[in-house]
């Protein structure tokens, strides 16, 4: 396809995505913040705003920094369409991010390209719809499902969904970046073994291990690019 035409189509699509995304998120925020008041109207009991303000102070201290970090890190991973949808539907780390990365692998697209943007959006939209459907069905069928889902024998399975997910993803990603796995893995393991109180801060510490891995990957990228440039220069000189 003609590159200019493709750019034009994608530019139009992208602008539409931002418009719909922004309007959709703004409505979503209003609905979410308004829902406790609507529930309060139905129950004839409005939220206690002074207790809310005190509680928000505590919660915001922990969650505003992590929300900022999530926005900065996950948006480049998800792209625009995927980003809007993933942030409004939630469950990023335990579902949306691995799902989008898995789709990227299967579709074999490159970060930052229109194809990747489309694959990421399709993947997050599908994931959101499936989750909504599963939870809605679960809520409707809660009476017959509850004894199965709460069976003691099955708890080790449901308590370990995220480790199982990371095990499968690790196989794929450790193979792709095998040269950069060792340092963050050893450092993080030693940190958590010797300072177990840090385990509860894993969501913040993943930024540290991510930064170490990115720095290592950058050094390797620069080294390899230099090598390729030198090789290209040599072959040009030979010609």
């Amino acid at each position: 396809m003609d590159i200019n035409r493709k750019d034009k189509i994608f530019h139009k699509y992208n602008e539409g995505t931002h418009l719909i995304g922004r309007i959709g998120l703004a409505i979503g925020i209003l609905l979410l913040v308004g829902s406790p008041f609507l529930m309060g109207f139905a129950l004839d009991a409005m939220p206690n705003l002074s207790a809310f303000a005190k509680g928000l102070g505590k919660i915001a201290l922990v969650y505003i920094p992590s929300c900022i970090v999530e926005f900065l890190i996950y948006t480049p991973m998800l792209g625009a369409g995927g980003g809007y949808l993933a942030f409004i539907t939630g469950n990023l780390i335990n579902m949306k991010i691995p799902c989008a990365l898995n789709a990227k692998e299967i579709a074999d697209t490159k970060t930052g390209t229109p194809e990747n943007e489309i694959v990421s959006t399709l993947s997050i939209a599908t994931s959101s719809l499936v989750t909504t459907l599963v939870i809605a069905l679960g809520v409707m069928l809660i009476i017959p499902l509850r004894p199965i889902l709460e069976a003691e024998v099955l708890q080790p399975a449901f308590n370990n969904v995220v480790p199982a997910l990371f095990g499968a993803m690790a196989t794929r990603y450790f193979r792709k970046g095998k040269q950069i796995v060792a340092i963050p893995l050893v450092l993080m393991s030693l940190l958590f073994v010797f300072v177990p109180s840090m385990i509860s801060n894993v969501a913040i510490l993943m930024l540290v291990s991510g930064a170490i891995a990115i720095a290592h990957a950058w050094l390797r990228f620069k080294k390899e690019s230099k090598k390729i440039d030198v090789n290209n220069q040599n072959s040009n000189e030979e010609q």
Partner: protein
């Protein structure tokens, strides 16, 4: 009327259901637009359909664990609020802890249905909704300018290679290694000057067995020309890892 009956009443289901429906419709709009745009720029339809299939299978198991979160919270908050919280913006690890903080802030000893009142409930609902909303606000305000940086200026060096993919791989490796480190730290840790095995090993079992299953799936998918397996490899590996945790839980 008992408090749990009030929290499970139809008006609350309608409020939660309406908001969830809005977000589901937004997902459908994004999905249809992305599919059409993909076809318009010349992407292979089979590839687009594979993306949908693999994402759907990938999502099934984590969705069941989220449903468990809804069930766990429904005992103290009724069904409509946890259903809403875990379908829109929510995060499994966030909701339970914030609900607990919020309950204590409104004067309860914890998330406890025997102490719950309609006012405590609506205050908890407001705290749970607003406490985690910042990522969405940032995305709505800065998402356009921030995401465009990564689309319009790919970091391409003279050699023609892009660092973008390497950076994403590295970031994800950083994320996984932090979590694996935390599982190791939960199993063996320094307590009072000596290393102690805590018995918390099921995360590592699930992780290791899932990884082994993934190696086997990838072998058949790549070496035996069974590429259709790729769509189900993550979900299949997760089932193996979770099953291994159940078996170990029964045996030990």
């Amino acid at each position: 009327m008992k408090i749990l009956d009030q929290l499970n009443s139809w008006p609350l289901f309608l409020i939660s259901g309406g908001i969830i429906l809005f977000v589901a419709l937004l997902s459908i709009v994004f999905m249809v637009r992305a599919y059409k745009a993909g076809v318009a720029i010349g992407m292979d339809k089979t590839k687009l359909r594979r993306t949908i299939t693999s994402s759907a299978t990938f999502t099934l198991l984590p969705s069941v664990s989220i449903l468990l979160g809804v069930i766990a919270l429904s005992g103290s908050l009724g069904l409509p609020l946890p259903w809403l919280r875990l379908s829109v913006i929510g995060a499994l690890h966030y909701e339970t802890s914030v609900a607990d903080i919020a309950a204590k802030e409104v004067g309860l000893t914890g998330l406890n249905i025997s102490e719950m009142s309609p006012e405590a409930f609506t205050t908890i609902a407001l705290l749970m909704s607003v406490g985690i909303i910042w990522g969405v606000v940032l995305m709505a305000v800065f998402g356009k300018s921030y995401s465009k940086k990564f689309q319009s200026k790919p970091n391409v060096k003279k050699s023609g290679r892009s660092f973008g993919d390497d950076a994403m791989t590295a970031m994800f490796i950083g994320l996984i290694t932090a979590y694996i480190g935390s599982y190791i730290g939960q199993f063996v840790q320094l307590q009072k000057g000596s290393l102690v095995f805590t018995g918390e090993y099921l995360q590592l079992i699930a992780l290791i067995f899932s990884a082994i299953a993934m190696i086997i799936f990838e072998y058949f998918s790549n070496k035996k020309n069974m590429s259709w397996l790729e769509n189900f490899s993550i979900a299949g590996s997760m089932i193996v890892g979770m099953a291994a945790a159940v078996v170990c839980g029964i045996i030990f």
